[in-house]
Point group: C2
Chain length 292, copies 2
């Protein structure tokens, strides 16, 4: 498994990726999934991958060696793409080439063709852009409304991004929130793990401003994890307990509750009461509506 | 989609379930997924369902009408099971009956046979128990080490349960944490939604202590959501920004970074640099290790 996220804010792009790969839980390795390409002043790109490692590696190799353009006869590499849009198209074409060559054999072995990429960066004179490329080679672009994209195990780390990031967020705050998102993912999915690679690409700077790997025990990330845990604990403790009181159910009005029992159409609790037919009748439970 | 969770603490069991069903995003309905059965002083059960609604409804109907035991000839209903273990077995048998009768036809229509249940409760003279029953009819039991079980869209709501609940948690704190877990799920997955049904079953009380439905706008839950949001916001703001400084990359030592490029075996950044072969060489990026 993998977790990578890319965050696009006014100041630039943050890319974060873990490094854990697994072929079963008994075969865990470390592979870099975040690839950085920089020609200062000319172009800067960050490519993060998730999915089957053989597929993502082959895609990266194809993008490195270049793919022949059948119309022009030229070999097109990722990094000589004239725009980020065309760079994303090249990633998609490489994915489709690997699909054409490998997917049947993988399916025969019951392995699904599963890969996805985040591609962020900027070419001189062009906009900073962030894309997500799917296993079919099609892709979407990140916009200011939802200023992040995720690949791999995205669910555990999504709530904090939804709540905390917007397009105006400071770029190092975005990095921090991305690390909290990574922490949430690592806590719940063992297949996502340290080291964590990250990159910061500032808009119009046309270089990699930060290229850093967090190793186990790294002080800032350790402190972030502890602070976040303590804050969550304090947060739920500070919320009052539910005020829903125990009440004699008979005294309450019969609210219409939808039932899943298809043939009765009756009130759910009446329907439930049928389950004890032939026995002393079960007490019919009503919905309680205590006032706060 | 659905999200239901059951939490087992020393004081008892909390069960929470949403009510949203959808057949595509353009066809959303409300169905009760949390079914309560009570014969005070004798037995109490809560059954929550996730998955294909036709399957879960049919299972509940079979458990209501009773399934013939081929050995004894008796019709066995969920609520006359002599123990919770046997009640869980009955749910499993009902799931298998529906699988036998419906799964082929569903597969022909490209619909997967997808269902799961949480069953919690207690029979007089027996232990309070909480089970999760799978689509194959097999099941697991909740224990004190990980004192909760989830069905449906479980990932968004899992981090808070992992962090905040243990077996000694007060039962109404467990209910509160379950509601935070539900809130996290609803924020990230539109297919989980209000109203929310909940039940509290106190150990050895043999009744439903609380049976409550949260409707949209309900004051306590609205307040809980706002407090949780504000606390998360405060929590991430209180964490310092990453100290990883921008540094001239040339001055740093060449750290060994694993590469996904299969044929070179070389340093990732050296390999990345190949991508610009034939052009002015890209600057080789090194890992930065600033001290805090």
């Amino acid at each position: 498994m993998t977790y990578c996220c890319g965050i696009l804010v006014r100041d630039g792009i943050v890319m974060i990726g873990d490094t854990r790969t697994n072929a079963g839980l008994d075969n865990i390795s470390t592979f870099r999934k975040l690839h950085l390409f920089e020609e200062p002043g000319k172009r800067v790109m960050a490519l993060a991958s998730a999915g089957n490692l053989s597929v993502s590696q082959t895609v990266v190799s194809l993008l490195s060696e270049g793919i022949e353009n059948l119309e022009t006869g030229e070999r097109e590499r990722l990094t000589d793409a004239p725009t980020m849009f065309q760079a994303a198209q090249r990633v998609g074409r490489a994915v489709r080439m690997v699909h054409d060559s490998d997917s049947k054999f993988m399916e025969n072995a019951d392995i699904s063709f599963d890969v996805s990429f985040l591609l962020g960066g900027q070419v001189e004179g062009r906009r900073l852009r962030l894309f997500m490329i799917y296993a079919a080679g099609n892709f979407i672009e990140c916009t200011t409304d939802s200023p992040y994209l995720q690949i791999g195990e995205h669910k555990y780390g999504k709530p904090i991004l939804d709540r905390a990031v917007n397009y105006e967020t400071d770029i190092y705050d975005a990095l921090k929130i991305g690390l909290i998102s990574m922490d949430s993912t690592m806590r719940s999915n063992l297949a996502v793990g340290l080291p964590i690679d990250m990159a910061v690409i500032r808009r119009d700077a046309l270089n990699i401003e930060l290229n850093y790997r967090i190793m186990p025990g790294e002080p800032y990330f350790t402190d972030l994890r502890e602070r976040w845990s303590a804050a969550l604990r304090a947060a739920h403790i500070a919320i009052p307990r539910p005020p829903y009181a125990t009440r004699p159910v008979e005294s309450l009005p019969n609210d219409g509750i939808d039932t899943v029992l298809p043939r009765t159409g009756a009130h759910a609790n009446a329907a439930n009461a049928q389950l004890t037919a032939g026995q002393p009748p079960a007490k019919v439970l009503q919905q309680q509506n205590p006032k706060r």
